[in-house]
Symmetry: C2
Subunit: 326 residues, 2 copies
Amino acid sequence: MHTTKATAFAPATIANVAVGFDILGFPVEGVGDTVSVERLDPSPGEPPRVLIESIDGCAAGCVGLPLDAGSNTAGIALLRLLRDEALSWGFRLRIRKGIPLSSGMGGSAASSVAALVAANALLPRPLPPERLLAYALLGEELASGSAHGDNAAPCIYGGLTLLRSVDPVELVRVPLPAGLAVALAHPHMELDTRTSRAALPSELPLKDYVAQSANLASFIASCYTADLDLMGRCLSDVLVEPRRAKLIPAFGTVKRAALKAGALGCSISGSGPSLFALCRSLEDARRAGAAMAAAWEAAGIELDLWASIVATKGARLVPEGLEAGL
Amino acid sequence: MHTTKATAFAPATIANVAVGFDILGFPVEGVGDTVSVERLDPSPGEPPRVLIESIDGCAAGCVGLPLDAGSNTAGIALLRLLRDEALSWGFRLRIRKGIPLSSGMGGSAASSVAALVAANALLPRPLPPERLLAYALLGEELASGSAHGDNAAPCIYGGLTLLRSVDPVELVRVPLPAGLAVALAHPHMELDTRTSRAALPSELPLKDYVAQSANLASFIASCYTADLDLMGRCLSDVLVEPRRAKLIPAFGTVKRAALKAGALGCSISGSGPSLFALCRSLEDARRAGAAMAAAWEAAGIELDLWASIVATKGARLVPEGLEAGL
């Protein structure tokens, strides 16, 4: 008898990374979504289905997250998996959100990836990660109106991922200098991905592209050469950040605080409102995080804060017995 | 007594490299400009000056290249050098163009760089390359209406250069896989840099930029990992090439011929009309070059063709006695 139940954890991810809009991302340790998936045999004469039994863990209640599988990012991914792999049975899901909603921390990708990794463990022949990524992108498409993969890819693979192509899926795993750490600060407000996307016009000046692409290319070079001084100079988003910063209260103050505290760079995590600060060490990340928190608190804004070594680990199965919270 | 005469050779350069518009470039062996510079003591009571004695070497006569130092890219660079370094004497120049005019092969940068490298040998304290680059950019600004440096930087430094910033000048030298070779084909027509720039609107779609930046970032990764298959997939310009291709007769036919002959990628050299094909080996580059030539000749267009290992050498002094041709 094959396993009929599995649980997986998928980390929060920081997409864009200042210079890689829609293509770069990496995971953060210590915060993520956990999904438990159980084999669901259909009633006689019924087709196999995906049932979302519960969604919990949200600080203010998981309002707005649909239990209907066809409207939920994790549900859609499993429905497609079920159909395309021609399974004779379905899935029952319990989703525990550790990632705040609409925070720019890759929450919808994480739920989808955790569901896929858990479901994959139930398959007679588990799928390779690139297939899981393709299914996760279908979930993402629902969440943001289009599939980008800059959250789903690092969430599955871990480390810094560069998505060269979405269709077909092709990614490059870029090495990150050892010891690199990140502070991630989430102000208590929601910013819908669609609103954040709407702040970007469909056309942008060529001169901004040139400046941004010079920083992107040099950032990639700095990853391979572990040149942190260069990395710091490159972490400057002239394309997207200036157009989205106004959606985030006290953005400039918080960013300046992080840089003054020694961060290599500070920018918007994904579509915001969370901000991240990339730092030379965990100690630096804690200092930058504290400075960011102080700046937001001075502006009357509450927040959550994480500091971690830049995670090399992506989503993984949670051993039996450790998922008691679900 | 210090040297009073020097001659330098500066190679042709391929700028943009399909995915690095205005930021990437590398030199080509076997074609370039040669400039001889002689110390010119001023007449009593006169300020030091820059005198361009001759410009020759152009296939169809060097029509349109100004002998007036203040209007010539090499002249302007030396005038600024003379002024900013507070020299008490000037320069007499003889320029031999090996690079066809308005060919997209970095001819104005090469003249300027060769003049600077030769003049630098006459200075009591020669300047470092980054200062020469800054002076070369002043010449380039005149030629194209703005300073890009994607020709001047590789022309001075050799190898693949990535210009992270023009002001202040900062570049990253990106390693290229050993053995990489290039075919460079120049159809017998001129394409003014300004005309080529005018084919680009000042604003471009964000989605094109995202696709281009994914290829650019992955191209840089492929240089560090020497992954030629990845490099080949990355050498696809969706941003600039489609908007400029119409300025180059038989563009599609010639490009397809290069790819069919085994080139990793084929695109416009600088602002065109020359095309380059990046290849795994010199043998491949010769084959791709022959295919490009056949395609253009079939369309009734004459051309020049070069094939070389991707040059790691930039501009250099020519030893006494070897510059007899000038």
